[in-house]
């Protein structure tokens, strides 16, 4: 599909037209940080964001989502997708969404996620500011971002808009787009390549070699215990991760004590009780009892277990876990460095 150009001065009108046409979600400022939220005006859109607090997965896999609603013994499913535009997603989050798409679709397709995903037009955008703990320039280089409907790149005087699907193409009618020149396309290409060299952190080795080393360290209990020594088991690293999708399911009553919903909420494998079962008489068996075991499970999930299925690691280098970790031990770059050294 061909590339298009929109002038900086026409851009606000484009976003305004999108907002008028459909619900639009994009990066907005929240005090000194950024979040994905519904746009009410084009001024709220902050394409100069570095990273958002939570990844955009929350729009398809909400922090709390009803799966089944019940009233006495009557029950029904409650997938009610909303057609929307998700605008301004950085390439690392696009990669992560593509991974969760695959994981929710494989074996038993979960339409509670997929329906929301399918009716979304996903517009990726170039990175203009780099987050302090980002390493997307070096992680999983073999995995290309896909699954987005268009890619928007900031260049001198405006934006290059490259549709990749008919859904992405359909947005063109909302803005004063012209054909992008070869120079503009080249400038966009260069901007997207150059930014990758500006990450403050870097993985020194390719994914396959990291996966081998991490796998080989599986039985090194001392190493994992040491890495997890200061872990609070709070699960913040899981919560902010764009590729984490574990959940809990609980029934919640309405005040009438007759109706309610079976609801899923985000869960975190770093928490102590995540893999615990009750044996009765107050006894428990925890299949990942120690912090070291739980810490290892997360790193294995990110660097090893899913690689074959996803074509690369289940980490996209957003650096959110590094920033969110209270004791600052979650940073995959540092963890991997220590494993490789050990």
């Amino acid at each position: 599909m061909s590339a298009h150009f929109i002038k900086e001065s026409d851009f606000k009108a484009f976003v305004s037209a999108l907002i008028k046409a459909k619900p639009v979600y994009g990066p907005t400022a929240k005090r000194s940080k950024f979040v994905f939220s519904r746009l009410e005006s084009p001024e709220q859109l902050r394409l100069d964001y570095d990273v958002t607090l939570l990844p955009p997965k929350k729009l398809f896999f909400p922090t709390s989502q009803d799966l089944v609603r019940f009233d006495g013994d009557k029950f029904e499913a409650c997938v009610q997708p909303e057609e929307k535009i998700l605008f301004g997603v950085h390439f690392y989050d696009v990669k992560a969404l593509d991974m969760t798409d695959l994981l929710f679709r494989e074996k038993n397709p979960d339409w509670n996620y997929l329906a929301h995903r399918e009716c979304t037009t996903l517009v990726a955008s170039s990175i203009q500011a780099v987050a302090p703990r980002a390493f997307w320039g070096s992680v999983g280089r073999e995995v290309q971002p896909k699954g987005h409907d268009a890619f928007l790149t900031k260049i001198q005087g405006g934006f290059v808009y490259e549709p990749r699907t008919p859904k992405g193409e359909a947005l063109l009618k909302h803005g004063a787009f012209g054909k992008a020149s070869d120079e503009q396309v080249a400038e966009a290409r260069k901007a997207n390549d150059d930014i990758k060299k500006r990450c403050p952190q870097e993985l020194k080795k390719p994914s396959a070699s990291i996966a081998r080393k991490v796998r080989a360290a599986f039985d090194d209990e001392t190493l994992w215990d040491k890495l997890a020594e200061d872990c609070f088991s709070c699960g913040s690293c899981n919560t902010v991760c764009p590729t984490c999708y574990c959940f809990d399911v609980q029934d919640v009553w309405n005040v009438d004590q007759k109706s309610g919903a079976r609801t899923r909420t985000w869960d975190a494998c770093l928490t102590r009780e995540f893999a615990e079962v009750s044996l009765g008489a107050g006894a428990h068996e925890n299949f990942r009892e120690s912090r070291g075991e739980r810490f290892r499970h997360r790193i294995m999930r990110k660097a090893v277990y899913l690689n074959e299925k996803l074509g690369g690691p289940a980490c996209v280098g957003c650096g959110r876990c590094s920033s969110a970790c209270t004791s600052d031990i979650a940073d995959p770059v540092r963890v991997i460095e220590q494993i490789v050294k050990a």
Partner: protein
């Protein structure tokens, strides 16, 4: 509710929602122990429940939640199916308060059960510890119902004490039956108990077992380690040892992450695994 989107597409309209259960009616309730209830069930719409021994179900009650359980009866017994619930938490206690004629709500069958093709034509040894007898009862009944398809059939059952024994009618029958070589023990006897006392591995001294035997195990995690050591001593290759595992599960369909052992999902890759498949996985037993 219609899953039609505001965009007019019917995303997943033709797919059934993974979390929608089927209603089942309770045909019979028994109380084998103080904490356990043995339910005999029938699907409310009259359709048969088709499953394999070793497969699991999510059993739930709206307003309380769901728990994963194995089938406790064989698919060869067509009209009804059984589950046994130990009342340990909020959901299981709510389920155990149900009476004959009440409804509960099921998703399943889920996961992979015992690979019967690997057991047919072979000597089969089943080792069940405590409540581990429930999911293995599905296989036990299957073998007894199709006895000619299997060779020698040996069953070991261990309980904490005589009061914890489940399926008393079955046990009485198995003790007399010529179709199964049944051996039982309790960790701690009582004055009325005349049988074996001691851990389940003691039963290995009661009979000779051929190294070509296929073994199926279900019980508390601690039991696996000791039983597998005994099976190793007998020279039974680990690919012929099948373990039925229990884990925390929320979805039962390979998504929620709770039941993972390393990179395997107990709910979809198991709950029955050959021991060779999982022996390298440190978190397995």
């Amino acid at each position: 509710m219609d899953s039609t989107c505001t965009c007019g597409e019917k995303h997943g309209k033709t797919q059934s929602n993974l979390f929608l259960p089927k209603e089942a009616k309770i045909v019979r309730v028994e109380a084998p122990t103080e904490n356990e209830r043995h339910f005999t069930l029938k699907l409310a719409d009259g359709s048969p429940m088709e499953f394999e021994p070793g497969q699991i179900l999510e059993v739930g009650l709206f307003g309380f939640g769901e728990i994963p359980l194995g089938f406790a009866s064989s698919p060869t017994r067509k009209n009804t199916f059984d589950i046994v619930i130990r009342g340990v938490g909020r959901v299981s206690k709510a389920l155990n308060a149900l009476k004959k004629g009440d409804s509960l709500f099921l998703r399943g069958p889920l996961g992979k059960g015992f690979d019967l093709s690997k057991l047919r034509g072979r000597d089969v040894l089943i080792i069940a510890g405590g409540i581990g007898l429930c999911p293995t009862r599905s296989l036990i009944q299957y073998i007894l119902d199709r006895r000619s398809e299997f060779k020698r059939f040996i069953l070991f059952y261990g309980s904490r004490d005589p009061k914890q024994q489940l399926f008393l009618e079955d046990l009485a029958e198995w003790r007399k039956s010529k179709d199964v070589e049944y051996h039982e023990t309790v960790d701690k006897g009582d004055p009325s108990w005349k049988g074996n006392v001691g851990v389940i591995t003691r039963l290995f001294g009661k009979t000779n077992i051929d190294p070509g035997t296929r073994a199926a195990l279900c019980g508390p995690p601690i039991m696996f380690k000791f039983v597998i050591a005994e099976l190793d001593k007998l020279g039974i290759p680990r690919e012929n040892v099948f373990v039925d595992l229990e884990r925390r599960m929320k979805c039962g369909v390979g998504k929620c992450g709770h039941c993972q052992i390393n990179d395997k999902y107990v709910c979809t890759d198991g709950p029955v695994f050959s021991f060779a498949e999982i022996q390298g996985l440190e978190e397995a037993v």
